[in-house]
Amino acid sequence: MLEKGKIIRHNQVGTDLYEIELAAGAIVREAQPGQFIHLRVGDAYDPLLRRPLSIYDVDAEKGTMEILYRVVGKGTKLLTQLTAGEELDLMGPLGAGFSIAEGINKVCLIGGGVGIAPLVFLARRLRSKNVELCFLQGTRTRAQIVAEQRLQAWSVDHYIATQDGSCGYHGMVTDLLTDENIMQGVQFIYTCGPEPMMKAVQAWACQHHIQGELSLEEYMACGIGACLGCARKLHSQDEFYVKICKDGPVFGLHEVELYEGRTGS
């Protein structure tokens, strides 16, 4: 779907982190957690391509959705300048989102940095189905923690880890996986964030025989499987590539070979 999303609210929520609320009724009606929108920042030729951003939260009644983004380069820097009332050119909802398995009572969501974005929408959906969940959020420092209020409103057990110890657990968020009190009864795990983090989650889940899903990123042009730009091999010895935009961005947690650095190929 193509839709002009009117900006209702745009505010900074942390160091280099911003939230945008958009009126985009048609996209919201179809949006599933884990899916993304492909948006055009401005109408100049530089930046030229659309930017993929996860659907962070939706309000089905109001027909609004939110995105949470981190300023990293040209496009996201430009995005910070847009104000309420302006419109964003959106394509979406795109990609294959998270699956929500029936008969699961407790899940763990673990996100690093801005990677929590798709997990927040997922938390909303899971809570509406009364699934119990623990939400583990890892950031570098306190000023990057987001979504506290909404998670609280949905009675989600929210655990925070900061690398500098300024809030919550002092250390890597994946250390929390070893905390029996938190993980007791978890049957499924969802993760999104830096690859080394997801690799640690994968290792833990493998050890504990727990299934799960993760979300991957790759540079994108079309966002819909036409350009074959966002390719990646699920395993290094595979012959063929999947397309992150169409086959993903969500994949089975144990289906993907993850890397310590940037995507190996």
Binding site: L2, Y45, L48, L49, I224, A226, C227, G229, C230
Partner: protein, 309 residues
């Protein structure tokens, strides 16, 4: 705004390919059409040039395969495709049933491969023409691109023409010193039309990682950044050959398309622009129609090449 002037005739004949309007979507930028159906009526597009097809499946290049550059992008997809048989069995019938004007795009690493591909496409229902991607390395000639040598271009085109009755459009590579010499060779070999231009070879380096961004190191530059180069080449070739030209490279709006037509193109192709605006091709068709009405132009023939001095 309604005008007294009758609605213009947008149809064009591209070397035997009958197009309802002069706007095609470029190979590799529109998949097999299905991907874009949610966004646009694909049957209304002048011609849909499908992803480059090889004899057997190709996995493509390692990632990263694409990167944005100022007003453009680099790609090194590596011709990922499922092979000609899968194209014919799984994708073509669907497009044919939808009445889409399909131009196949073939790529080989030897003249024999081009010949075999053309033969395989011969007699298949639903193909309006064959675009020859000659920007591929010729393995028998040390990997030199077919499209960089007039004699080789002549041989490839001649061979393919011998295998098929379909209109054949060689797609010229801009990575040459004399594009006119290549165009002439293609025409002499019996090409029905020319498609131009393919991407310009380029690269990008990550200063942070101190290495090329693309896993393939080099990639093809496309998008608005290449438009002036593409336009110049169409302008030059138009003056020197008699066969029609499908012009493109960086077209992002109706004015861009009109520039190509005024430089001598019979029809235009939209590539990277599809990624930015999935409906761009049809918006441009509308724009051209509006322009013709406003200027009382009955057929594009009236302005084709009008800017040439």
């Amino acid at each position: 705004m309604t005008q007294a002037y009758p609605s213009p005739d947008l149809s064009v004949n591209l070397g035997g390919i009958q197009m309802a309007n002069p706007v095609a979507v470029a190979s590799g930028t529109f998949g097999y059409g299905q991907e874009y159906e949610k966004f646009v009526d694909i049957a209304a597009i002048g011609a849909l040039i499908v992803k480059g097809t090889t004899l057997t499946a190709r996995p493509g290049n390692p990632n990263p395969r694409i990167v944005e550059t100022p007003a453009g992008m680099l790609n090194a997809i590596g011709l990922e495709n499922p092979g000609v048989d899968v194209f014919l069995d799984e994708y073509l019938p669907y497009l044919h049933a939808k009445n889409v004007t399909v131009i196949a795009n073939i790529a080989g690493n030897s003249i024999e491969e081009y010949a075999a591909l053309a033969a395989r496409l011969e007699g298949q229902e639903g193909i309006a023409g064959i675009e020859l991607n000659i920007s591929c390395p010729n393995v028998k000639q040390g990997g030199l691109q077919f499209g960089t040598d007039p004699d080789t271009v002549y041989q490839v085109v001649k061979t393919v023409k011998g295998e098929t009755g379909l209109p054949v459009l060689p797609k010229l590579s801009p990575n040459v010193t004399d594009i006119v010499a290549i165009a002439r060779a293609a025409e002499a070999a019996g090409a029905d039309a020319l498609s131009m231009i393919n991407t310009l070879m380029g690269m990008a380096i990550s200063v942070q990682e101190r290495q090329p961004v693309l896993a393939n190191v080099f990639g093809g530059l496309s998008g608005p950044a290449i438009k002036p180069v593409a336009l110049r080449m169409v302008y030059q070739v138009y003056q020197e050959v008699g066969i029609p030209i499908l012009g493109g490279g960086g077209i992002m709006c109706c004015e861009d398309a009109l520039e190509f037509i005024m430089a001598g193109a019979t029809a235009v192709s939209i590539g990277t622009g599809n990624f930015v605006h999935p409906r761009l091709a049809l918006d441009i068709v509308q724009g051209i129609s509006d322009y013709m009405q406003a200027h009382e132009i009955e057929h594009l023939q009236a302005i084709k090449g009008c800017a040439v001095r």
